[in-house]
């Protein structure tokens, strides 16, 4: 409701200032009115023109009148006039009269306060790399093409086949870094960040899709599975699913002309030539900003870097060089979906903070009439049967179903509609509810998943309680499935309608509890993430309490000097602390410890003990953000703590700040100390760039110092790759070691002696070093007590768990609770900042409301009959039912109940009731189903 989609449009220019921009648009014609179009698809079914389907990467065809994919938003078709022959068939077929052949290009303007640029990227086009044979050998595909091949909505309907002969492949090779980490052939010196993970994913899905055995090989330089829980996924592919990972960049691909198979020759790490034949080769193409995106950014005077990503400040990651214009996603830099979604929220946060005063002023208000009381009335049911164009009507005898519905008990009105979901039908339904005094409504059409909420709104809009509504899905579950058997489909439609009518008669009025929202926020943890979250909330105009357990703000960042880009962390921290401390909306409590917690979304109360204060402080708040942070692992390995020449990266950077690098002849760095091992499986994400940062610092201070980095995979993802390149340029030597053969570190009078096998020479090297620096991984802060008090879930590594890795990356599973910074998982300062802004943004969407409606679909305990067996307490996936020790009863807080019904169905005494799904409301459907038609 608060989002206007302006499709098929391009930004020509933006004028004005932050808070008051005018955006000039070119609106390209779509030739089908998206408001009138119902997405029924009749136009495309009759279109006689075949066109190349770009959405499926040209692997199949579509019509000239088309929709890109089934879930497209808006769900409306368009005409591709490059291929349309103008025959007029679609116009004749369209019952909604949505076709507009005379649609023309227009220009329009928009008035907005802030702008977010999120134009993204495309996959690299490997056609120019002749040695890979793409475009010449049919069975060499890009990863984007392979994604479509694997997809159920793809060219082969999800059957894994190779393009040449539609045979199922027996073996597939992925070649990594095509269009990434290549300064020679494409100029993309950066790492695309996502290809390692998608290659692992594609190999796993490919194995699932084939009927026999499938040999999957990923040829790579480094496997960069650096994200949260990514390492486990990689290891599962390698160790459980048998995906082979080979450290080699392949020189060229040769086709076997007779079979279409592909020969790959490569040198293994020992320098032995190997040859393997594959059914298919997938080129893992990198991400690249498209020329038109770069042109747009340049038109708006937004500074881009040499790769055409937005040139951003490490401490203001989603800001651009133009005030009031923000960015997110791959245009900001190569990143995966969780990162993009997080940044999107961060950009929304900054864009919104600028307009905080005007919040809510442009939002249309909906007036809802007073609800009619129908509790004492006998059921009067209206049944609306949908044709869905011909989706249902072309198979099911809709007039027959309508006539049948008339014969059912309690039904007083029936109707059939071309499109029951269209706006004019909503008006008609309202009219009929009033005209016929309907007090229950049944719609027989499509899925409640997509349309139930809309029909419920229609009921509300004419004063009928929204829970007096029931749907019968006679499309997805009937006409689409039994399209070849219309009689059976009609019979099934009648069954479904009979069941829905039976249930409708049992429905009772339910009321959603309205709870006011406490507009204060609590942020737990006063590091860079917590402070940014607090600052963002304060800037949005919300009072925020910031808790820090130490006596000073800053967290782990207090130990850091510079980012890899050279930005001064301490100077930034000082400004940040000043901004937070001086903010009139933010109250900072240091030396704070959480000792008590209660409440639910919108109305939490947290009890805090403060150092040196006897009385505990109770804070009421509507939301809270967890930003408890992480620290550096204290190594047990490599003589750490025994020889003072062995130190961590953090200690090394201190030493370099204090003493410089004079007198250092050689420094050895060892990666993955306390990461990627049995005890701590995950990658700590930041250590590779940390080593590179310090190596470059050493080289800057003293070019004569020799630096050796002993690593397993160098994971300088995204634009960090440039620093890895720079380090090699400066002469830093990188030696890869195997997990099973870690370096040997010995103390000697002439220096530390580090022995490791060089991965290329397959021979031991012994390095005499003045210092051995351990890239110690990250460890989550100890939050045992706090997470227990606040009932927050953590993973085995002690990091808090988000609600959904991709879709809700900064939400926690419980409503009103958000997460950011290293409390979520290891990350860089820049990433922590955007995540903090994202968490604040998500919290703002909650705090912006005055009250929330709690769902009326909740479980209730009949305490008189409950025997307190605690089965519900043990079974609830959300930990909601609780035993109240004082009252000696089981309590289910309806504010936090998700209404899933697990407790109601598992209760051995059947003393738990789930409203809207009470036993009688479900059993009556089964009874109705078992009745013969017409009885």
């Amino acid at each position: 409701m608060n989002i206007d989609l302006v499709m098929c449009s391009e930004v020509k220019s933006i004028s004005g200032d932050p808070g008051n921009f005018e955006v000039s648009l070119v609106n390209h014609p779509r030739y089908i009115d998206p408001v009138k179009c119902t997405g029924c698809g009749e136009c495309a079914r009759h279109c006689p023109v075949t066109a190349v389907n770009q959405y499926n990467m040209k692997l199949d065809d579509r019509r000239a009148t088309y929709i890109e994919y089934a879930q497209a938003v808006p769900l409306a078709f368009g005409i591709d006039t490059d291929t349309c022959i103008g025959c007029g068939l679609c116009e004749n077929m369209c019952i909604a009269k949505a076709i507009k052949y005379d649609d023309a290009e227009r220009e329009s303007t928009l008035k907005v306060g802030s702008v977010i640029l999120s134009v993204g990227s495309r996959g690299f086009d490997p056609s120019g790399l002749d040695y890979l044979g793409y475009g010449k050998y049919t069975n060499v595909v890009t990863s984007e093409e392979f994604e479509r091949i694997l997809s159920a909505s793809g060219p082969y309907f999800g059957h894994l086949m190779r393009p040449l002969d539609r045979e199922e492949p027996k073996s597939i090779a992925w070649l990594q870094c095509v269009g990434s980490r290549d300064a020679n052939r494409c100029g993309n010196g950066y790492c695309s960040s996502v290809c390692c993970m998608y290659a692992v994913k594609e190999s796993m899905i490919a194995k699932e899709h084939v009927h026999g055995e499938l040999d999957c090989v990923v040829f790579n330089m480094d496997m960069r599975t650096f994200g949260k829980d990514y390492e486990k996924y990689y290891l599962r592919a390698r160790d459980k699913e048998g995906v082979r990972f080979i450290k080699a960049r392949v020189h060229s691909i040769i086709e076997v002309p007779e079979t279409g198979d592909l020969i790959i020759q490569y040198a293994d790490e020992a320098g032995k030539m190997k040859e393997e034949v594959f059914s298919m080769v997938v080129l893992s193409v990198g991400l690249q900003v498209q020329p038109d995106a770069a042109e747009l950014a340049q038109r708006l005077d937004i500074k881009l870097n040499k790769y055409h990503f937005v040139d951003s400040d490490p401490f203001a990651p989603v800001a651009t060089s133009q005030p009031g214009i923000y960015t997110c996603g791959v245009l900001q830099g190569p990143k995966d979906i969780p990162g993009s979604v997080t940044e999107a929220s961060a950009a929304a946060c900054l864009a919104g903070a600028e307009l905080a005063e005007a919040r809510g002023t442009d939002i249309p208000k909906v007036e809802i009439p007073k609800e009619m009381d129908v509790t004492d009335q006998d059921p009067r049911i209206g049944v609306f049967v949908c044709n869905c164009g011909i989706n249902i009507g072309g198979v099911v005898d809709v007039p027959g179903v309508k006539a049948y519905a008339e014969t059912l008990p309690n039904v007083v009105y029936t109707d059939e509609n071309l499109f029951t979901c269209s706006q004019d039908t909503q008006d008609k339904i309202k009219e009929k509810i009033i005209e016929h005094n309907l007090n229950r409504v049944v719609v027989a059409s499509c899925s409640p998943k997509t349309h139930e909420a809309m029909f419920m709104e229609t009921l509300e809009a004419c004063g009928l309680n929204k829970y007096l509504f029931e749907m019968a899905n006679i499309r997805n579950q009937d006409s689409w499935i039994h399209s070849k058997e219309p009689e059976v489909a009609t019979k099934k439609a009648k069954d479904l309608v009979r069941m829905a009518v039976a249930r409708a008669a049992t429905l009772r009025t339910l009321h959603e509890k309205v709870v006011p929202i406490n507009k204060q926020a609590l942020v737990i943890g006063g590091g860079v993430a917590g402070m940014n979250a607090a600052l963002s909330l304060g800037n949005q105009g919300f009072n925020t309490v910031l808790l820090e357990k130490e006596t000073e703000l800053g967290g782990f960042s207090r130990k850091l000097h510079h980012t890899i880009e050279g930005a001064d962390v301490q100077a930034y921290l000082k400004t940040l602390v000043d901004d937070v401390s001086g903010h009139d909306k933010i109250e900072v409590l240091t030396g704070a410890r959480i000792v008590g917690f209660e409440g639910f979304k919108g109305n939490f109360a947290t009890e805090v003990a403060l150092d040196g204060v006897d009385k505990k402080r109770k804070i009421d708040h509507g939301v809270f953000i967890v930003a408890t942070g992480a620290g550096e692992y204290q190594p047990k390995e490599f003589l750490y703590g025994e020889d003072d020449r062995v130190l961590t990266q953090v200690a090394l950077s201190d030493r370099l700040e204090e003493k410089g690098a004079d007198g250092l002849d050689s420094v050895v760095m060892i990666q993955c100390v306390g990461s990627r091992n049995d005890e701590h499986v995950e990658c700590s994400r930041i250590c590779c760039q940390n080593a590179v940062k310090n190596a470059l610092h050493i080289k800057k201070l003293n070019p004569e110092t020799q630096v050796y980095v002993l690593y397993r995979d160098i994971r300088t993802y995204g634009l960090l790759e440039d620093y890895f390149t720079e380090a090699r340029e400066q002469g830093v030597i990188f030696i890869r070691f195997d997990e099973d053969a870690p370096p040997d570190v010995r103390s000697a009078s002439e220096g530390m002696l580090v022995t490791v096998k060089d991965h290329i020479l397959q021979q031991n090297v012994e390095i005499r070093a003045d210092l051995v620096t351990l890239s110690a991984g990250m460890r989550a802060e100890d939050t045992d007590e706090m997470s227990q008090i606040m009932k927050l879930n953590r993973n085995p590594e002690g990091y808090f768990i988000e609600a959904h890795v991709k879709l809700r990356p900064v939400d926690m599973p419980s409503d009103g609770v958000f997460l950011c910074g290293t409390a979520h998982g290891p990350k860089l300062i820049t990433e922590a900042i955007s995540q903090a802004q994202a968490a604040a943004s998500r919290a703002t969407t909650f705090l912006a409301k005055d009250a929330i409606k709690l769902s009326a679909i909740t479980a209730k305990v009949d305490v008189d009959h409950c025997v307190k067996c605690l089965t519900c307490v043990r079974s609830c996936p959300f930990g909601v039912p609780e035993f109240n020790i004082n009252e000696k009863v089981i309590e289910i807080n309806e504010a936090i109940c998700h209404g899933c019904g697990v407790c109601a169905s598992i209760c051995p005494r059947q003393t738990i009731h789930l409203s809207f799904y009470d036993d009688d409301q479900i059993m009556c459907k089964i009874d109705a189903l078992l009745e013969a038609e017409g009885t």
Partner: protein, 243 residues
């Protein structure tokens, strides 16, 4: 190879790789190796003498100067440049190999290449076969005449020698006039049909330059200068080298 550990660390020493870097534009990117192995995967000499381009560069990077400047592998490299073609960092491995060759004392370099270079230095023809100016001219004229007669459709085909002012000055691998004279003719025919304005020269006609492969810079330069002068003396616009 010795199983003793390679000793690294301590004070920085000047190494062979650094010296080569100074000679090359952008240092030949010699430091940038990702050890990905694309070079070795495509190198025809991988595995010979237990060596491959990646290993060679690695040894250079680790300062194993003795090994790389004495490995006969450098003479097995064909200078085909397949390695640099696909190298993501555009590392000039061929130049590293070339400079390793140059570090060999001249008399220790492979006899075949050495002999061919020395032979080319003897005449202004620059022929590695030692062919004289007169012999070359005689063979060209003799073969031309034979073809003009035998194949009437090419009766007006030309293969001039020392004609001033021609567009192209054509080089010729010197193996053909000596051992396979007929092999010269297909190119003549193509040039004839294309209507090209070309000539041979008695001086500087030999296309090959073994002195380059020998990494004898002075001799290499001498050969190039002799050939360039021959082109200039005949006032030709384009020097067409078929090697």
């Amino acid at each position: 190879m010795a199983e003793e550990a390679i000793k690294l660390g301590g004070k920085k020493k000047s190494i062979f790789l650094d010296k080569v870097k100074e000679l090359l534009p952008e240092g030949g990117h010699l430091n940038l190796c990702l050890t990905c192995g694309a070079c070795s995967s495509g190198c025809p000499a991988t595995g010979l003498e237990d060596m491959d381009p990646r290993k060679f560069l690695r040894m250079a990077a680790l300062g194993m100067d003795e090994e790389i400047t004495s490995s006969p592998w450098v003479w097995m490299c064909t200078m085909c440049q397949r390695c640099i073609y696909v190298c993501p960092m555009k590392i000039d491995i061929p130049q590293l190999v070339f400079n390793a060759r140059a570090s060999w004392s001249r008399e220790d370099r492979p006899k075949g290449i050495l002999g061919s270079c020395d032979m080319a230095l003897k005449h202004d023809t620059c022929s590695a076969m030692g062919t004289s100016e007169e012999d070359f001219q005689f063979v060209v004229e003799d073969v031309l005449e034979e073809y003009q007669e035998a194949q009437p459709e090419f009766s007006d085909m030309k293969a001039d020698v020392n004609r001033e002012g021609a567009e192209f000055f054509l080089n010729q691998n010197s193996r053909e006039p000596v051992t396979e004279p007929d092999e010269m003719v297909p190119l003549w025919k193509i040039l004839h049909l294309a209507g090209a304005d070309w000539t041979y020269g008695t001086k500087g006609w030999a296309a090959e330059n073994y002195c380059m492969f020998l990494a004898d810079n002075d001799a290499w330069e001498h050969i190039v200068r002799v050939k360039a002068k021959a082109v200039d003396d005949l006032k030709c616009k384009v020097w067409l080298n078929t090697e």
